[in-house]
């Protein structure tokens, strides 16, 4: 199973970036092999639609779950339509702890967007 985490730097011991659409980097982790890859967020400075681009990035990499701190309404609707599970970091600090909590089924799964949209 492949999952994606929003992080602040391109490494496995990175800090977590709480913002999904505006994260600095995305960490793609294959939980079966523990192979990982970090990719810079191409939409970091987009004027709008960052969450939608991030959701398309997730589906392009065929990830089944996303771990982040906040999901805006556009990102939420896009990921929901794509059938991707959204999980909140909650009190987790650091990638390893987030992965452990996720594997233990202890991260909250999201049912509604956590943040209001930004427009303009």
């Amino acid at each position: 199973m492949k999952i994606i985490l929003s992080v602040t730097s391109p490494k496995l011991d990175s800090d977590l970036d709480p913002r999904f659409g505006r994260a600095a980097y995305y960490l793609i982790v294959d939980l079966d092999t523990m192979n990982w890859e970090a990719v810079e967020n191409p939409a970091l400075n987009a004027s709008g639609g960052a969450g939608i681009q991030a959701a398309q990035f997730v589906t392009k990499h065929q990830c089944q779950a996303v771990l982040s701190g906040d999901f805006g309404p556009n990102a939420f609707n896009a990921l929901k339509a794509a059938g991707v599970g959204m999980y909140l970091y909650g009190s987790a600090s650091g990638v390893q702890q987030a992965l452990d909590l996720f594997k233990a089924g202890k991260l909250e799964m999201l049912a509604a967007p956590t943040a209001a949209g930004h427009h303009g």
Binding site: A46, G48, A50, I52, Q56, N74, A78, A81, G117, H119
Partner: protein, 313 residues
């Protein structure tokens, strides 16, 4: 009576909010209307367009009877999932990420769509049709002074003001010989550009304060980019200190930039109370009507001399 070209549009902008755009625009329109001044026989009273569609307020002063109403919006894509092959061409062409292909689903985000129609054009399956997404209303009717009043009102929660302003300007077309006064929104972003675009002259309302001067610079720069001849109205004249304070700095900036100061409105309790009660400046101070008419003559004269070289007019 000043001589008029086919129709003459004066746009009022400011940069900073609350400097007196609507105060100046409504009193200018009233001064040019039949109530105040004898117009040529048959000449129409001015057309007034409240283009601050996110927070229109000129109706509080000009008290129009809004008889006509028209819902407006933009055409947004509607995807027929039975024909969509999820090739992703629509989302590639969209500059605003308003349409996204996610696995076996194509989603439209109406609030991000600018209505350009590119996705419909590039869809190889012909799976996209266009439907009207209502984002606001246009309203018009007669106001005091026989002013032809028009305004746009953006629906609450809608993020894009530009299409409403564009359609208001297309809907409320001036008659030959008519004055047009446009009340823009504050700032110097897309809605202001759309409101003042194509005007014959730009009035920049400012006040002698740090914010007034700061935002006047931005607004003046915007006017220059659009090749609009411009002049300044200083409102609340006297608050920012005299020649050694912000009063002096605003005057110095205008001089340096070649922006004529067209009118000074004093800082007075009587004016503030009158405006708060919904009265126009020229009703509070009837003698100012002459100043506004004089200003409009000055503006006509300035447009003969101020048009920048190579301007697209």
């Amino acid at each position: 009576m000043v001589s008029q070209p086919p129709s003459f549009t004066i746009a009022v902008a400011s940069g900073k909010g609350g400097t007196g755009k609507t105060t100046v625009a409504s009193s200018l329109a009233l001064s040019l209307s039949g109530l105040v001044q004898t117009t040529e026989p048959g000449a129409d009273a001015p057309l007034f367009l409240d283009c601050d569609v996110e927070a229109p307020n000129a109706h509080l002063f000009l008290k129009p009877e809004l008889k006509e109403r028209k819902e407006i919006g933009i055409l947004i894509p509607q995807v027929d999932e039975t024909r969509c092959s999820h090739c992703g061409k629509c989302s590639e062409v969209c500059q605003y990420h308003a349409i996204a292909v996610l696995g076996k689903k194509t989603l439209v985000f109406p609030q991000l769509c600018h209505g350009c129609g590119s996705c419909t054009l590039v869809c190889p399956e012909g799976a996209i049709s266009e439907v009207l997404d209502v984002m606001g209303v246009l309203e018009r009717g007669p106001a005091i002074g026989e002013i032809h009043f028009g305004r746009g009102v953006l629906d609450i929660g809608e993020p894009m003001a530009v299409p409403v302003i564009r359609q208001l300007k297309a809907w409320a077309k001036p008659q030959p010989g008519q004055w047009v006064v446009i009340d823009a929104s504050p700032g110097s972003s897309c809605p202001v550009v759309e409101a003042i675009r194509g005007a014959d002259f730009l009035i920049l309302v400012t006040e002698p304060t740090p914010f007034g001067l700061h935002d006047l610079r931005l607004a003046a720069e915007m006017g220059r980019k659009l090749d609009l001849p411009a002049g300044v109205v200083i409102n609340r004249d006297g608050i920012g200190g005299g020649s050694d304070g912000f009063g002096g700095r605003v005057e110095a900036y205008c001089k340096e930039q070649g922006l004529p100061v067209l009118l000074r409105i004093p800082f007075e309790r009587e004016i503030a109370e009158g405006i708060a009660a919904g009265r126009n400046l020229v009703e509070i101070h009837p003698e100012m009507r002459a100043s506004f008419i004089e200003m409009s003559s000055k503006i006509i004269g300035l447009t003969q001399t101020m048009i920048p070289k190579g301007a697209l007019r």
